[in-house]
Symmetry: C2
Subunit: 370 residues, 2 copies
């Protein structure tokens, strides 16, 4: 028995409905509901009750159109099936939800074109900001453009030199150097590194970069983390007086080389390595597989260390020693930085570097002959 035109049962309640029910104007209802401006306690309560009664739910689309904010974040990662990105994504969604944001997810498979398409789609959907683990350090115009156009971008896991955006990373160089030092300390001299870097270049072979001819060369535009880890590896070797730092360096390209094959090549050398450093958990799996195909026991015949502490690393025997990255925190911090930007803070780009932790388990032993 309200006034005149009641709302038909089927249609969801709108602000006019609530206003009518509460006996106030639309604006007052809107103010009470969205909690801004000033509303008398009495009116506020009547509106609240009316909304409750009618089962009113605000139309977020309409609100976003006005406010320009969607409370939605875009997350662009390489591959959610990679445990590292799964953890990061988990951190992102949890932190976002806690802050009242939703997350739109996109995978790139380390492909810049896919990344560009994702940025376009997400911006068309009016996300308030973007968290990106960039596929490449060059060709980042789409990121710069988004950022410049007022869609804040936070870089995750990987830096992009020229881009004035916040970033959350770990000290890849230092962590890799530390891991290799531990191998050296155990007495190893022939230490290999196996990695996958960047996408296959569009045409022709990549230019050589100090890697032996029988292995894939470092691509022109690799993801920076891989490169940093390689530099850390080289630095540790150099420190130990090993001048030919690339003798046991093997890098492949995503979707082209298989880490197990790379490792197999290494193990077939006349003087094979006695230890292998894998730059991520997927690569470590390939290394372990190859090692065992060669009848090598870990760690007695071959020591193994890898980036990323996955569930299996502590369940297999020997337990694998790893450089553990704070995956969830990486995601959570990125969300934090992003939201700070979204809320309007303008300050110089901040580059957060989180600590890694070396978990010394059972996969490092002295080299066979020692």
């Amino acid at each position: 028995m309200t006034t005149n035109r009641r709302k038909p049962a089927g249609r969801p309640a709108t602000i006019p409905d609530v206003a009518r029910e509460a006996g106030v104007s639309r604006s007052t209802a809107s103010r009470a509901l969205a909690d801004y401006g000033s509303v008398s306690p009495d009116a506020r309560e009547r509106v609240r009750a009316a909304a409750e009664k009618l089962g009113y739910r605000p139309n977020l689309l309409a609100r976003s159109m006005i406010t320009g904010r969607t409370h939605t974040l875009g997350a662009i990662v390489a591959d959610i099936q990679n445990p590292f990105f799964a953890g990061v994504t988990r951190g992102i969604t949890d932190a976002a939800r806690a802050a009242g944001y939703q997350v739109l997810l996109a995978n790139t498979d380390e492909d810049v074109a896919a990344e560009r398409a994702a940025v376009k789609m997400l911006r068309d959907k009016h996300v308030d900001g973007l968290i990106v683990a960039p596929a490449a350090t060059a060709e980042t115009g789409h990121l710069a453009a988004a950022h410049a156009a007022g869609c804040p971008v936070v870089l995750l896991d990987r830096q992009v030199p020229g881009l004035p955006a916040d970033s959350v990373t770990v000290d890849n160089h230092g962590a890799a150097q530390d891991a290799v030092r531990r191998l050296l300390a155990a007495g190893h001299r022939r230490i290999a590194l196996v990695s996958l870097l960047g996408s296959a270049p569009a045409g022709g072979p990549a230019e050589a970069a100090g890697t032996p001819a029988d292995a894939a060369a470092v691509p022109a535009d690799p993801v920076s983390t891989g490169l940093e880890r390689i530099e850390g590896y080289r630095a540790a070797l150099r420190e130990a007086g090993i001048t030919d730092t690339d003798a046991y360096l093997r890098t492949g390209t995503f979707h082209r080389e298989d880490p197990a094959d790379l490792t197999a090549g290494l193990l077939s050398l006349p003087e094979p390595p006695t230890a292998v450093f894998a730059t991520d958990s997927m690569i470590a799996l390939g290394v372990l597989s190859a090692a065992r195909d060669h009848g090598l026991r870990v760690p007695d015949d071959l020591s193994v260390v890898t980036f990323d502490d996955t569930d299996w690393a502590r369940a297999v025997r020997p337990r694998i020693s790893v450089v553990a990255q704070p995956v969830q925190e990486l995601g959570a911090r990125a969300v934090q930085s992003l939201i700070t930007r979204i809320e309007g803070t303008t300050h110089a780009p901040e580059h957060l570097v989180l600590d890694t932790e070396f978990l010394d388990r059972e996969s490092i032993a002295p080299p066979p002959g020692a």
Copy 2:
């Protein structure tokens, strides 16, 4: 050099801008851009060119408000860090993007309250449909409500008996039965099952369900897949003339029990099992860990089989025999069903059951004394 009010450089181009530039009305521009109604080839081309020149991007928010469709899907899973859900989610995002949809992601950690909150949030965001791996088979009012209100729901991995929604699952009962049969065929009689089911009940201990008192009882409202796998296990044992099917059945509760502890209890029995069937890969990790803590070698001392083919299952030695689920396809098919519903087809709920594949590797051997 255009007519009167040109669009300021900062503001994104809108339909009026394009219309003005092309010398047509807003409606014609809109028709040409969104490709509906009838527009003369000439006008169409002029509009296209104007849009191109101005860098026009449609405001999807405004469009959604009118059309009622956002081209956004909601995906609600237990935990993206679980390889099963990571694969499913990958399948979902890929299939969605291919069909022109985006995906909003939510994790529930098998918690019904979190699921309910996620549904609410996603519906407030006007997703066109929901893909849900339900945390429980009861308390699904929020799913039924969404479905009834015209937000199609597709159930993934798990069925909800009373809900008239499409579903995409695998034959858990059959696959489990088949796996256990293989253990029986190898000569095993003392075959254990380790599983985690549902969330901790709110108050008091769950009612007993045939499981020995020293193990956690099957919760009142477990996820259906776990239960189905248990029934398949029981059926296989019964077939083999084993009447006490629950002697080696151990089920725990998410966040409360540790699969490794459950397994340890089993292995400390006077007559320990000679084979263990794990209902998912995370549990298998616990089983392997416990086995090796007990100094047992796989498969010589203990055979192991699990659901889910993860990357590590084929990299560790021995390679683990598994029931492989088509994870990505599960997600892709769910998207397909959902979009079919969204586009307006109304037919009786369809229940798609995908095939699993048993991958016989190296983790099954005859029991020790055989």
